[in-house]
């Protein structure tokens, strides 16, 4: 192989894009014998370091300018349903700019942006809306817990970082594998409330952590049922009637504004008729922590035991990535600094109920971490705690204080999440879907939680049934009116096709936290925090004759089905596994299951129509 032939492949291999094994071998052989090409390869690394990990300073915040311009746009150019959201707009407060970054600019003199700015007298008074992070999936959950965190969570210090949540294997396996460090049978935690105080370690920027968040979150003890509908703040006697939930928390600072950012004014988010365990409408009450995923290591480092908040606690070391669901849940209570996924987390759990009592995050070592910190503007001394969270006033299985459910603030209009506990008598479809989707098997201890119908939007009615044992939960969503074109449910962009115990075909999300079934007259999604094997068993015990996705009907529909799916309405599960080439030459075997390749940029399962390549200026946002 000559150098001019090898170098394009060297470049592609550097990007991980050389998929032909024979060519990879040929390139490797050429590199072994060619100094020039080895030098070329080394220079690619230098280039990447200098570009990908550049220190970015002076990132402008265009939010206010864009929003003002959007509001100034003629109504014809706005998306349908555009509203000014007056209540929230009134709550917006300017976000202090980072000292090192210039104030938001509205365009250079003479530029179109400047012209737009000058033409808008309201622009100067418009402040950035409070930022909020999109809800993250509580994905890899198994035996879960936690309920809520009532009250004041105080954080001291810069944002936490740590390892992923993994449950020690000793706590996961059969009783023979359990050790004294892991309770063989953690006490059932029907309710948990606590107040936490985060503190900034010495030397840390107070502005980076002292956000004084206050969260009103609680899971009241009421027999064995989890009133997850009581999201935060509805008085108990009104809970059944109004089914409202709300949270109030300082909005998080955007990354580019940290660490010198003081969080903007609190943002109140209220919702009514919320679907239980809904990712789209996060509730701290649903913050079920994946104890089963505290650590990926076979034998996670442990910290021994000590007393935290007056309770015996067990400690283990994990990472920010694994405790991300917990951090995301707590983040609703205030703005934290960013944390690096591999930062180690010292996590202390209640020795009896395994609910989190404290965590400390320290910076990870390594070049990538240092690059990241430099880019984000953090000065994290090695070994220093960058976030400490300690809860106090922990109450497990005890009645909650009355103030745990304060009223929804006046003037806040809750959003309608569209979930109804009572199935409309006139509509048999949701009832029949729910009946068909009642599993014949559930993990021991699971009891019915909330059942209802999600509907009222442009999408089909979806019957929703949930079960819980106080820690883990299972949810089955079913519809008989799925238009097809893609899998029902939010399985993401990568799914595995698996064969269930009874021979039925199912599709499993990448994280193993969702399973989808497709049958001739019904589509079902099973999700929950009991792990993939449990979910597959629940799915196998549904009265659904699940089959493969229609290979032809979904590949070559008479019209592009994604278009209709995308417009199906906000209540429809999005995400949508787009199964591509479920059968065919590109099928791969991975982990014993078929792994259909999925179209990220297209939806071949729905439509494989020929698309002419757009010209260089075509596409969304292209000027005419």
């Amino acid at each position: 192989m000559r150098c001019d032939e090898a170098r394009p492949d060297v470049s592609a291999a550097f990007d991980g894009e050389l998929h032909d094994a024979a060519r990879r071998d040929a390139v490797a052989a050429h590199l072994a014998g060619c100094d020039e090409c080895r030098a070329f390869d080394a220079q690619l690394t230098v280039l990447r370091r200098r570009l990908r990990y550049e220190v970015v300073a002076g990132v402008p915040d265009v939010t206010a300018a864009v929003l003002a311009a959007v509001r100034d746009e003629p109504a014809a150019s706005r998306p349908p349903g555009h509203v000014a959201s007056g209540v929230l707009a009134g709550m917006r407060a300017p976000r202090p700019s980072r000292p090192t970054s210039p104030a938001p600019r509205r365009g250079r003199p003479g530029s179109p942006a400047a012209a737009r700015h000058a033409a808008s007298p309201a622009r100067r008074s418009v402040a950035p809306a409070a930022a909020s992070r999109p809800p993250r999936s509580l994905a890899p959950v198994a035996a879960a817990f936690l309920a809520g965190i009532v009250a004041a969570v105080t954080f001291v210090g810069p944002p936490p970082t740590g390892p992923p949540w993994v449950r020690p294997p000793t706590c996961r396996g059969p009783s023979s594998r359990r050790s004294s460090a892991c309770p063989a049978s953690p006490r059932r935690s029907r309710s948990w409330s606590a107040a936490g105080t985060p503190t900034c370690p010495s030397g840390a920027s107070a502005a980076g952590c002292a956000t004084a968040p206050r969260v009103a979150v609680a899971r009241p003890a009421r027999r064995d049922r989890l009133p997850a509908r009581a999201v935060g703040a509805v008085p108990r006697h009104r809970r059944r009637r109004r089914r409202r939930a709300w949270t109030r928390a300082p909005a998080a600072c955007p990354r580019e504004a940290q660490p010198g950012c003081s969080p903007p004014a609190p943002r109140v988010d209220a919702v009514r008729r919320r679907e239980p365990f809904a990712d789209a409408v996060p509730s701290p009450l649903d913050l079920v922590l994946p104890v089963d995923s505290f650590t990926l290591a076979a034998a996670p480092p442990t910290l021994g035991s000590r007393t935290v908040a007056g309770r015996p606690a067990l400690g283990l070391v994990t990472t920010v990535a694994q405790v991300r669901p917990l951090l995301d849940g707590l983040l609703q209570g205030g703005g934290w600094r960013e944390l690096y996924p591999s930062d180690p987390v010292e996590l202390w759990l209640d020795a009896g109920a395994l609910v989190p009592l404290a965590l400390t995050v320290r910076p990870d070592s390594g070049d990538d971490r240092r690059w990241w910190a430099a880019r984000a503007g953090y000065d994290d001394p090695a070994g220093a705690a960058i976030l400490d969270v300690v809860v106090h006033g922990v109450r497990i299985n005890e009645p909650l204080p009355e103030r745990s459910f304060p009223r929804v603030p006046a003037g806040v209009t809750p959003r309608d999440a569209g979930f109804d506990d009572t199935v409309p008598a006139a509509d048999a479809a949701p009832r029949s879907a729910a009946a068909a989707a009642s599993p014949g098997w559930l993990p021991a201890g699971m009891r019915p939680h909330r059942t209802g119908v999600l509907g009222g939007g442009a999408g089909p009615d979806v019957a929703v049934s949930t079960w819980t044992d106080g820690r883990a939960w299972v949810k089955v969503r079913a519809t008989r009116r799925w238009p097809g074109g893609r899998l029902f449910g939010e399985l993401g962009q990568v799914v595995r096709r698996v064969r269930l115990a009874g021979g039925a075909t199912a599709y499993v999300a990448e994280g193993g936290n969702r399973v989808a079934l497709h049958a001739g007259d019904i589509d079902v999604e099973v999700s929950g925090s009991i792990g993939e094997p449990g979910l597959r068993r629940v799915a196998a015990n549904l009265d659904v004759a699940a089959v493969r996705c229609p290979p032809d009907g979904w590949r070559r529909p008479p019209r592009p089905c994604v278009r209709s799916a995308a417009h199906a309405g906000p209540l429809l599960p999005g995400g949508l596994a787009r199964v591509r080439r479920a059968v065919g030459p590109h099928r791969r075997r991975r982990g014993g299951a078929d792994l259909p390749r999925l179209g990220l940029g297209r939806a071949p399962s729905c439509s494989r129509r020929r698309r002419s390549r757009p010209s260089s200026a075509a596409g969304p946002g292209a000027s005419a």
Binding site: G58, V62, A69, R105, D279, G575, G601, P620
Partner: protein, 179 residues
Amino acid sequence: MDEPAPQVVRAAAAGDLDAFTELVRTYQMPVWRFLRHLLGDAELAEDVTQDTFLRVHRNLAGFEFRSKFSTWIFRIARNAGTDALRAQQRRARLIRAVQPAPPAGDAATGVELSASLASLAPKLREAFILVEVFGLPYREAGDALGVPEGTVKSRVFHARGQLVAWLRAGEPGERVGEV
């Protein structure tokens, strides 16, 4: 790069300004960074970033989840950046018509990597930025640029060839024709 929840995108498309704000906050930094590299001008990049998000707002209803949302945004940013480059070139031609061209840059001043990036043809530059700076796979970069995957591979390789030559020589590479 994190993808927004589909519900957030749908809410923004339905006119929810809070959801749209969330999208702007999430993507303004990568979009600005992309445009700064593409245009070689931080201030112009800021203007075009604003323009990009206005286009995003106008076109959100047409987003069909065929591609990743980040890819779709990059494509809009690329279109907006291309428009800005054309306008910039028109202005440059006008300026050249009325005043003499500035002297060529000294090789000794070519110490900034951005200078070498600016020396690349725009088509090489945009492909290289998406792949090298943002780590997009070739297929997603191709989606964003509206070109086949093989073209992305070719453009990235040619861009690298010039930049490596610049690294070795310590001066910006010569401008070459577009692929």
